[in-house]
């Protein structure tokens, strides 16, 4: 009946939308990744008793596991905040039909219960439960345990929606929580703050006083209720106060630099006034810290890692911006095609913005040189290489972009705009430095490769105008196909 029809519609909506907008290869890749994740998690659950008995030789394995659940659920909550989609049934078409409003609200909520994150949590918990918890403890005990854990999963599921609704505008929130959990974990390991023991004893308390089990169950029901209320509140159309975005800076100083400056102004406004490019900038800030992972004593001598790290760390913002050259303006490319804009200036604007973004990243990552003597050279060479070679490669591959980007959608799990061009571009862009390094190493002197990179990049920078003129010809050839692809919604 009604529920069946709704299910049918939802299925149609799913099948006809994002799934097919991504290419089949991407979906296969994602499918494999998901499967891999599930297998990993399930095997951890299965082998947890062995792992934990080695680490926590002084404690009951189940207690240890329960304690660690704090970290698992914190992490789980954060991942849900980032990746879980808030349930929405596009209500408007259904509101005036003879369907109870409460059905329309319960339905999407219930639909989230068999979601990926819940599945993942179950894959972790169930093997452990069946293998370790059940056989070792009295039945009542095990039942209480599993109810508690299931309630926690349930709470996380709905709490994520509430958090997402209220904090989605402030991604800083996530960093704060991440930092907080990190600090707790650090203190825990050091022994100053025994979070794991505290949580384990909370579990123990519930076991010995099963009557209190009502608390987690009540909390679970509460979280559902709150999600219900939130969804209900948003089901009235008038409630949709048009969010009028605050006007962000106009970068008007650039208008003094002629047409190129004008176009750079547009690009900067595009980055700061739209959800997706703005979150890309945030992401690139995170990339700046990659160095702390790679520049550890273990890896410091493996040049491969240094080159890899240097490539990203010195130019992260530029790379993320450049990867989607032209696709960023897919919803308004016609403005640049039909108006009096010199194509060379158009490409110049992009080149110089790339230049500026990379330069900022490089300057910020200069301190990494303190980690090792050859890092300074490697990073500088990769920076110059990116300025003089990668930039042009990105422009070239950009003209082969064939899919539209919606600037308003968030960057996370958003594969709009990635097509064959983007994947293929990674090969020469990232591959070349390594190939050059490999060739020089074979020839006897590996360090020469860095000077080669600097030379190549330097040439690119010096002759940038000539190269850009060549690229405009390619742009002219490819603009029709690109524009036609972008106009398709």
């Amino acid at each position: 009946m009604i529920l069946q029809k709704l299910l049918n519609h939802q299925w149609k909506e799913k099948v006809r939308s994002s799934f097919w907008q991504r290419s089949i290869w991407l979906n296969i890749l994602l499918g494999i990744l998901a499967l891999y994740l599930i297998l990993c998690v399930a095997s951890i659950g299965f082998l947890a008793d062995k792992i934990l008995s080695e680490i926590y030789s002084d404690r009951n394995v189940v207690q240890a596991f329960s304690g660690l659940l704090f970290y698992y659920f914190s992490f789980d909550l954060m991942m849900r905040f980032l990746l879980q989609k808030v349930p929405v049934i596009s209500m408007q078409p259904y509101l005036t039909l003879p369907i109870k409003r409460s059905t329309l609200i319960h339905y999407p909520l219930i639909k989230t219960i068999p979601g990926f994150f819940n599945l993942l949590a179950l894959c972790l918990i169930l093997p452990f439960y069946l293998k370790t918890v059940l056989p070792a403890n009295p039945l009542m005990w095990s039942v209480v345990w599993i109810i508690t854990v299931l309630s926690l999963i349930f709470i996380n599921n709905f709490l994520a929606f509430l958090l997402k609704k209220y904090f989605a505008k402030r991604p800083l929130f996530i960093f704060i929580i991440l930092a907080l959990v990190g600090v707790i974990a650090w203190l825990d390991i050091k022994g100053n703050l025994n979070m794991t023991e505290w949580v384990a004893s909370a579990f123990a308390f519930l076991e010995s006083h099963p009557a209190y089990e009502i608390i987690p169950v009540l909390l679970a029901l509460c979280s559902y209720e709150m999600a219900y209320i939130m969804l209900k509140r948003n089901s009235y159309i008038e409630e949709e106060k048009k969010r009028i975005s605050k006007i962000s800076p106009g970068f008007t100083f650039l208008s003094k630099y002629g047409e190129t400056g004008l176009l750079m102004q547009n690009e900067l406004r595009m980055i700061f006034r739209n959800k997706r490019p703005k979150s890309v900038v945030w992401l690139s800030i995170i990339f700046l810290f990659y160095g702390f992972i790679f520049y550890q004593p273990l890896e410091i001598n493996k040049v491969f890692f240094l080159v890899f790290a240097g490539f990203f760390v010195t130019s992260s913002a530029g790379l993320m911006y450049g990867q989607y050259f032209f696709a960023w303006e897919s919803s308004y490319l016609d403005v640049y095609l039909a108006n009096r804009i010199v194509a060379l200036n158009y490409l110049k604007a992009k080149y110089w913005l790339f230049f500026v973004l990379c330069s900022i990243c490089y300057i910020l990552t200069i301190p990494y040189a303190l980690f090792g003597h050859n890092i300074a050279l490697i990073n500088f060479s990769l920076f110059i290489y990116n300025l003089g070679v990668t930039s042009f490669l990105y422009i070239l591959f950009g003209t082969y972009s064939r899919s539209r980007i919606d600037l308003g959608k968030s960057q996370f799990m958003n594969y709009e705009g990635t097509g064959a061009a983007q994947w293929l571009s990674m090969i020469p862009v990232m591959g070349l430095p390594f190939i050059i390094y490999g060739l020089c190493a074979l020839a006897g002197n590996a360090n020469v490769s860095f000077y080669v990179l600097i030379a190549l990049g330097g040439l690119g920078i010096i002759f940038n105008e000539h190269i850009l003129i060549l690229l405009t010809k390619i742009f002219y050839k490819n603009k029709y196909k690109m524009a036609v692809a972008f106009r398709k919604r």
Binding site: I244, S331, A338, N339, R487
Partner: protein, 230 residues
Amino acid sequence: MIEFNNLKKVYGGKSALSVDRLTVRPNECIGLVGNNGAGKTTMLSLILDLIKATDGYVTSMGNKVNENDDWKEYTGSYLNEGFLIPFLTPMEYFEFIGSLHGMNKEDVVTFLNEASGFFSEDITVKKYIRDLSAGNKNKVGIMAAMMWKPGLLILDEPFSNLDPTSQSWLKNRLKKLNNERVTMIISSHDLNHISEISSRILLLENGILIKDISSGEGTLKELERYFSVS
């Protein structure tokens, strides 16, 4: 001014436009009419070099539009929302388009004051174009196309989504521009408006030019007769 030469555009086996010869003379005001799918937007897109012709070419002032960009200096156009930059405020958008043609901020403001009959408050209020209503978005696009006094003006269904007052304002403005020697190609579904403004009507159907007539007294009746279903 504009010439079509064996112009053809084919989409997936089906001919969207096929015009052997067409000449648009300076100062003409061409009204382009036809049912949906007739090829009006295709024709305008070809003139603006936004799509690639399957065969033939369009010239503007003697130069092929796909080989020479000079036409951009005197051609103002607005076809659809894709011509707007969604994250700019209307003022910023006007300033941008204006500065491409040598207009500074004061010039833009002067123009907007002159055109105040067309606008609602929204246009000058600090709102991004993407947050405007469909009608206001259209107004921004149309205004930006006209603002810098182009020699050739190309509009695709400008009267759609406009309230009655704005429609009247636009109609009068277009007539005035034509008197000031601006060449225009306007497509519309509104037979009344189009027969009032145009000096020449082109009627497309399935990509073929069925009628090419000078607009006069009986034109409206002729068009209504053509499109009526009985």
